[in-house]
């Protein structure tokens, strides 16, 4: 089997296993479903090219998340946006309200929009994608303590936003 066929087969496996979680992660990073879909495909395309160049390379899911995080950050920088974009579609805006009809209803996406991108990545990588601080640190290229600190600072902001919501 030639390297192109190997790369295709391995990429297909990655797509089938991880596309949903990865796209959801990206959606929360950039705050836009359409952009998230594009970035997700860019990540898998990048994976394909990497595997095509080196079919023996072990490509784990952490690689995908690293590529996805970098793609999201690059996208936001290209758009000269330092924070996560607020959602501009009604469907999206309603899609991530927690306990929508309850007293603790929280528009988490709007809250994420207030965070610096590094904190968003740390928070989503751990509490959303399910990585430990050590694993997230490897993916994000930082230390586990830095990830924990970013998570804490993200929570501070979320808490502040939630208090604002409940007072308004």
């Amino acid at each position: 089997m030639d390297r192109t066929a190997i790369a295709q087969r391995r990429t297909e496996v990655l797509v089938l296993e991880h596309q949903t979680k990865l796209a959801r992660y990206l959606r929360r990073m950039v705050g836009d479903a359409e952009v998230a879909l594009d970035l997700t495909q860019d990540v898998f395309l990048s994976a394909y090219r990497t595997l095509q160049a080196d079919p023996a390379r072990e490509l784990r899911v952490g690689w995908l998340y690293r590529a996805a995080t970098n793609a999201a950050i690059s996208f936001m920088r290209r758009r000269k946006i330092l924070h996560v974009l607020p959602l501009d579609r009604d469907l999206d805006r309603n899609a991530w309200r927690v306990d929508e009809h309850g007293a603790e209803s929280v528009d988490l996406q709007a809250a994420l929009a207030r965070l610096p991108v590094e904190q968003t990545a740390a928070l989503l990588m751990t509490s959303y994608a399910g990585y430990s601080s050590s694993e997230a640190a490897q993916i994000l290229g930082t230390s586990a303590d830095a990830v924990r600190q970013r998570v804490c600072r993200a929570m501070k902001t979320l808490r502040h936003v939630m208090n604002e919501d409940s007072n308004s």
């Binding site: 192109t4 295709q8 990429t11 297909e12 797509v15 596309q19 949903t20 796209a23 959801r24 959606r27 479903a33 359409e34 998230a36 879909l37 594009d38 997700t40 495909q41 395309l45 394909y48 899609a95 991530w96 927690v98 306990d99 603790e104 929280v106 988490l108 928070l123 751990t126 509490s127 959303y128 430990s132 601080s133 303590d145 990830v147 924990r148 600190q149 970013r150 998570v151 804490c152 600072r153 929570m155 501070k156 979320l158 808490r159 939630m162």
Partner: protein, 190 residues
Amino acid sequence: MKVASNCAAAEILAGAIALGEAGDEQRLAYREHLSTCRHCLVAIGGEREIERVIGIVAQARDQERWQPDLRRARARVPSHSYAWKWGAGLATAAVFVVALVATQRHAPVVVHSVATQDLGSVAALSTQTFPQREGRAESLAFTGAQAARSTLTFEVRLDARGKPARCTVIKHSSRASLDAAVCNAVMRAH
């Protein structure tokens, strides 16, 4: 027991508590810090508050219902920048052909074909790797299995001076705009 000596260390401990990575010793150190730091008590809160806030993110994750449809992303209209790049690629190929034609001025009519799949790997990749999601934007003008195999064939008629006088597309590629771009480039080449 290690007591968090400053707020930055307390933030790390709070993060560990939030992620379920803190042991008893770390929890105790955090409590010790809170007992002496009103700022962290107000800004971060106690362990129960940390778990409440992080629980909201986990709850949101569990409530996530969005199913990404990558096929839909593939079917989106290609961006102008991509179309322009592909158009430029085809045009470059066409200019090359015209340059060849110019070296053989005795031939008044030249017919040349440009196989679109030769212009890059993305179109081929889209159809070979993800056949179920053909038609995506990255595939641009050549999306889909059929388009990836498509060929643009055009005829150039030269005048007595050997300059292109007319360009006719004999077999269209999948995008009329690219066909036009090729012919425009051919006509401008000399």
